[in-house]
Structures are given as C-alpha cells and as structure tokens.
Subunit: 200 residues, 2 copies
C-alpha cells in the first residue's frame, strides 16, 4: 500500500502548511501524486485522513532516551536536548497547527501532543535520577524543572522564526544556555569534567 503511505505523508505536509481548513483534499491528493478520488477510496473522510496522518507522525517520532543512571549530566542533557530541539524545530509548523486545532478538533490536537507528553516524562525520570543519585542538591520540584526546560526549548523552537529579535543567539548555543541555567537551578555540581561533548 504505497499510495496510503504517500497520502499520509502528503496530508501531514499540507496540514503543516495550511492547517486543517486550508488542507483541501484536492491539494493533498496533488501533493501525494494521486487522484483526489483515490484519497476517498483510502480514507472515508478528510477528517479520517488527517487523524491517521497525525497518528503516524506521533508513532514515527519514537522516544529519545536518556541514560537510566546519569553519569555526565551536562553532556547527556545537552545531547538529548539538542535532538529534541531538532525535532521541535523541524516540525514547528505542524506543531503550531496542531496546537491551534485544540478548540475545533481536540482529538487531532491530543494526538499530536502525545509526543510532547512522552518527551516530558523521559526528562522528568532523568531529573529524578539526578536527585536520587546525588548529582543535584536542594528541594526543587522535578516536574516544574522538566516543564521549565522543555518549555524553554519549545518556545525557542516555536518563536525563533516568528520573533527573531528575541533569539539572537544560535540554535546550538540556545540549548547549552538553557541546560546550564537548569543545572544551576537544581544545584547541580559543575560536572566531573570528563570526556566533553561527544554528541552527534
């Protein structure tokens, strides 16, 4: 079923550009290189197609993992955040459109947001690990710290093109800046200066 696959991909792309209302069946079919009628032979409605496309997107973006036991917090966090940031930035249009569908198509919205929820869970687990294994002192809330870091990455990835004046530093620097601020916030030791940055 190559056609079905092409339609899902085309739907996601056109949806990212034009949103739910703007993504017409005609345009999606064109993008997929098939006849509009074929679209309706594979999916019973436009809504059905978009839902499937967003589910495929959510399934495709598998969870990036952080180590079960922290060893080099700064390096590990930076590498993970960089990967997460790349995903956010790459799919920023789709994410923006998905969020804005919350009022009219809550199901579509929820499907797209699954990714963020999984990502946040993973980071929270890791930060709790930092606390448990003595890498960070103090009485901070792991969930709040998680949401703060993910929120910084998210806002940066969403706002960098819509408000460039707010983000004069590079995307690469951004991740390090946020991670270092977070590490300071949770009272993390300045890191046992070992093999620095060996990230993709």
């Amino acid at each position: 079923m190559d056609v079905r696959e092409a339609l899902l991909e085309a739907a996601a792309k056109v949806f990212a550009e034009l949103g739910m209302r703007g993504a017409t069946t005609k345009r999606i079919a064109q993008e997929a290189g098939v006849n509009e009628v074929t679209l309706f032979r594979h999916f019973k409605s436009k809504d059905d197609l978009l839902q499937a496309a967003l589910e495929a997107y959510a399934r495709r973006s598998q969870a990036r993992t952080l180590p079960d036991h922290p060893a080099h917090p700064r390096e590990e966090l930076i590498e993970w955040c960089r990967a997460h940031y790349r995903d956010l930035h790459k799919h920023r249009s789709l994410i923006r459109k998905t969020m804005s569908e919350h009022e009219e198509h809550p199901a579509h919205c929820a499907t797209g947001m699954q990714v963020s929820v999984r990502v946040a869970d993973e980071l929270k687990r890791y930060l709790n690990g930092l606390k448990d294994e003595g890498f960070a002192a103090g009485t901070w809330d792991a969930l709040a710290a998680t949401n703060m870091l993910i929120g910084a990455l998210f806002s940066d990835a969403m706002g960098r093109d819509t408000m460039p004046e707010r983000y004069p530093y590079s995307m690469r620097d951004a991740v390090e800046l946020y991670v270092d601020l977070l590490l300071a916030a949770i009272g993390a030791k300045p890191a046992p200066r070992s093999g620095r940055g060996r990230h993709a």
Copy 2:
C-alpha cells in the same frame, strides 16, 4: 463609531475560536450584531478587518512594568509573572491561532507577537538590573534567562489545556515554581524576607 469597535472585538473573538479561515465574515458580523454588508462598509476586506483587530489587541495589552530598581526580586517577579501569565492564559486561543498563521499571514502573526517581544524586553531589563545591583551572582546570560522564564510561562499557559497531564500543579503554584527555579539559576540570594506577596 461604536459599530467599528464591535466589529473589531467580534473579529478577535471569532478568530480566536476558528482561526483566519474559519472566521467567516458572516459569523463575525453575527457576533458583532450587525449586518454582513456593514462589515464591508467599515473594512475593505476580511484581511483588513483581522489585521486591524490584531493591532487593536496588541495596542490594548499595554506593557506591565517591573520596578526600575529591584528591591524584593522574588516578590516583584512573582507579581509580574502572575499578571503576564494571566494575560497569556486568557488569550491562549488567540495566541495559538496567531502563531499558526505564520506561514500564510506573516503580517498578522508579527502583529500578535509584538506583545511577547515587549514583555520579554521588560523582563530582560529587570534581570540585568538584578545583576548590576548585586542581587544575583555568576555569569549567566540575561537574554537566555529571560527566554527561559517567559518560555516556561508561555508553554504552561498554552499547554495546560492541551496536555493537562503535564501540569498537575495549579496555575498559581506554577508561577512560583518557575520563578524560584529561575532565581536559583541566576544565583539570586534567597531574598531579604520582607513584606511578602502583596499582589492583586
């Protein structure tokens, strides 16, 4: 010109619900309690009306100010962030729609984003003041810290209804949690415990 005012308000409301494509002239006129033709007598096109409505929104949300010279950083920040968070949460639908218009209507998007840019400027100024006047030690980047705190507030306000599982704590607690994390991040003294929280 009471009708014009009503149309601007109605346009913003309907746009927040349905987005640019969903906000039909018929629906906006209905919401404003006037005839659809009247809409076109006041604005030369739907695009024109929406642009004016977003400009009115941006103008209306005047800048909240932080003190020129910090005295009680924690209290001042919490009060200011609470006000900012309230605005974000109140207008979250409109903000989401505005952001998602970036590809198709960059002008509308830019107009709506002005608010955020002004808010970020104000916070950055204040954080630099904290550094200059010895309230916070260390070598942190004021812009990154600004974007981190605003990003946390923004993501929370946008995500609280679309991803409730990520935000089990109350909106009120959220602001304090983020502010305290930021203060720790920038090495702020735990505050000269004076007259606590006297916020609206």
